[in-house]
Symmetry: C2
Subunit: 130 residues, 2 copies
């Protein structure tokens, strides 16, 4: 199958896959992303998935649906998926649009999500950083 | 300044920045990547940087130079940069070409790099995974 290239790297940290979405996730990239992520969950035997969305300034209904779908796919494959770092304006817009991302587990930032997935930093967390 | 968009997301996990390079890092993207990474080191007050290169099947002299440069830039800014996951064939080729990435700290995979940067998993690591 001729599959579009994925512009988003998916890193493996232990049994957790870590990735981040950028603003320009178009429909074609979103499909490729779902395919790649599910294949990586199987290949890497991932127990958890972190998707950082702190770079996203807009989540439209298509992107929202993609996030809900990959969450459901991950769950079916036995992995826990956490979406981290949603901007306040995005959250406001989503709720106003009635897109409440039902079923998606969220975290305030990627670090918290990693903690939820069993990773922790032995360093003191940064204070006062953006 | 009109800056090219970066196609590589840089995640912040505590005071560590995590990113991964894909195969198609062309010259323009490499410059944008260096700019973005150094700005993020400053903005996020990062103490460490992990660059996963497990997806890279080729590292040419330009990419090698980019990695050495961002390592030096990170060091100047007070951050420790680790390059993780180099494929065996890439390592063989680099040494044969005399590109030994002097000064770059490496790790066998991203998980090890995160451990070197002060993160650890409370879970048992996966055995036998790819």
């Amino acid at each position: 199958m001729d599959r579009p290239a994925v512009a988003v790297p998916i890193l493996r940290l232990g049994d957790v896959l870590v990735t981040g979405l950028l603003d320009d996730l178009d429909d074609r990239s979103a499909v490729a992303f779902s395919l790649e992520l599910t294949e990586r969950i199987a290949d890497d035997r991932a127990r958890g998935v972190l998707i950082d969305i702190s770079r996203l300034e807009i989540i439209d209904s298509f992107a929202a649906r993609t996030l809900m779908e990959v969450t459901a796919m991950a769950r079916l494959m036995g992995a826990r998926l956490i979406v981290a770092g949603m901007r306040p304006a995005v959250a406001v817009t989503l709720v106003e649009l009635g897109l409440e991302l039902t079923g998606i587990e969220t975290a305030v930032h990627a670090e918290q999500a990693m903690t939820m997935l069993g990773w922790r930093s032995s360093q003191q967390p940064l204070k006062g950083a953006l």
